[in-house]
Symmetry: C2
Subunit: 362 residues, 2 copies
Amino acid sequence: MERRLFLTSSALIGASLLSGCKREEVKSFNISKKRKIEIKLATSWPAGFPIMGEGVEEFAKNLNSASGGEVEVKVFGKNLLVPALGVFDACSKGQIEAFHSGPYYWKGKNPAFSLFGGFPFGFTSNEMSAWMLYGGGLDIWRKLYARYNLYPLLGGNTDVQMGGWFKKKITSLKDLKGLKMRIPGLGGEVFAKLGVNPILLPAGEIYTALERGTIDATEWVGPALDIKMGFYKVAKYYYSGFHEPGSVLELTFNKEFWQSLGEDLKSLITSLSNELNAKMVYNFQDKNAKALIELKKYGVILEEFPKEIVEAAKKALFEVIEEQSKKSRDFKMVWEAIEPYWQIQREWTSLGLKNFLRMRDG
Amino acid sequence: MERRLFLTSSALIGASLLSGCKREEVKSFNISKKRKIEIKLATSWPAGFPIMGEGVEEFAKNLNSASGGEVEVKVFGKNLLVPALGVFDACSKGQIEAFHSGPYYWKGKNPAFSLFGGFPFGFTSNEMSAWMLYGGGLDIWRKLYARYNLYPLLGGNTDVQMGGWFKKKITSLKDLKGLKMRIPGLGGEVFAKLGVNPILLPAGEIYTALERGTIDATEWVGPALDIKMGFYKVAKYYYSGFHEPGSVLELTFNKEFWQSLGEDLKSLITSLSNELNAKMVYNFQDKNAKALIELKKYGVILEEFPKEIVEAAKKALFEVIEEQSKKSRDFKMVWEAIEPYWQIQREWTSLGLKNFLRMRDG
């Protein structure tokens, strides 16, 4: 408020000094004095990748228009400026100002980072955003990323993911023994404890591996993105999932660059990241529903994991968490922040949303 | 892009013409030429009302800071400038630039408006935002509001509401006959068909009416707001709800005023309204979970409506929709836009989110 008053009074002096200048020209000069800020933003997805890539493109467009052209974000798809998984280091060193990716990719740097991305049986996308924005999650994340000269903002969420595509129906825990499945992250660790052989494959090789039987199953995201991969052509059983209930994407800035921004731009970019974060969930909600209709036309068989698998996976999750907590003090600290919040969220979501969905849809 | 190029080149001419002016002064003048825009925004809630009122206050603050002080939003709580339910007309006439309220309040002007607020067994908050932003909902809403010289933006969502507080346990449809319940809107119409006597009461009178037995039951919102009303002291049975699964709040502008804004401000305000819309849901998620823990300490008994009530309510909903569609062409048009979208959303939400919640929480 003080700043505004100051600007208004000194502005009057400026106006009288400049009274000889024509109005048109002053208006133009006014704009030329605006800051021009360029942000190089690299992503871990191919340029124009549906929903996730589109989201960050829209963020860039909105930031440009909402700032009256003051800020220009140049979005570089994966490998165009920086390798897909080199964005963290490049931004940390200040070679780029920002990146759009997922915190689970950086668990090699700190195992705790995977928890900011979500975990099996973990937060729904809304619960995760509640924890981040109102439950202290974002503050903890920022403290840990500060060690790398980075400042994370929320950059989207895949919303609940499907459990994946299986060539054979899974009826018991026994069916998982030795099953070769493409599944990364904490979900992969949980499935490994159930006897699955988790396999990492680049996106471009999954379809062929599944077709040829090099793998027996794969998870990806959900109907909207899975349909584009064509998995339904070579695996008919499509399972509801528990391993990634709401994976977080990050819009992370170089911390020094972030601190150099004025309060107005910090406020604007934070708000636009919250918009990006939410709209991605709504976009997934829209596109997944439409793709599901298509998948059903192709004869996909919708399945749920049997109860013994779900229960064994829950047990395995706590084993994984215990092991990680022993290995990493940061993992333990983040988990201890998450766990009580997760428990009370589950109670409310069960009472409110789950009971509603049961009444609405049986 | 063209606009930027034009501004940059003409700016150079302006700069040369002004070369005699001192840098300091020009900098000041520059700022004085900034637009100063004041927006009077009236709400239907008391000043500082938790979550909903806080959300719009935060929107005002964010708009001020993200615009570098260019836009000042003056938020007027209910009845301070305009009566709580006078905001629609006042904004339509241009007496205020904007208001924050709920579209269900305006069903007297057009029955179709209630559908933009949600309906029993209707969209979850995420499904609703998906319909609004990606399914064409907001476009239809804007067309209908344009008749009133208004331009709606998304202004929040209560997320799933509870079914309300009952002094006696409800075990069958019979228990609803003649039950006096405070419940407004389409939910009230549905319950009326089940034999309930729906009663409208101002917020300040509900507690006393419930305490004295003038009413037997009341719905309000959910744990976070209900606990502040103290209902748990005079009614022990708290039911999960189906009547308001995600009620929409609106941030509506006078259309002429909206059209007078530059593209930068339109873009900024739209983005900030999307942020407001999403963060309100996360805030409810956070506060409801915390309040539920408190309510359980007070001995509240959590209940679900018996299946026969749920099924009868679904039947009643379609009767209400048919009646309204016969009375109002707009209602019919909006319902016909909603219905197919709602059906496919239900399928995906059941497969993804509902199955996940069942696996996570039983």
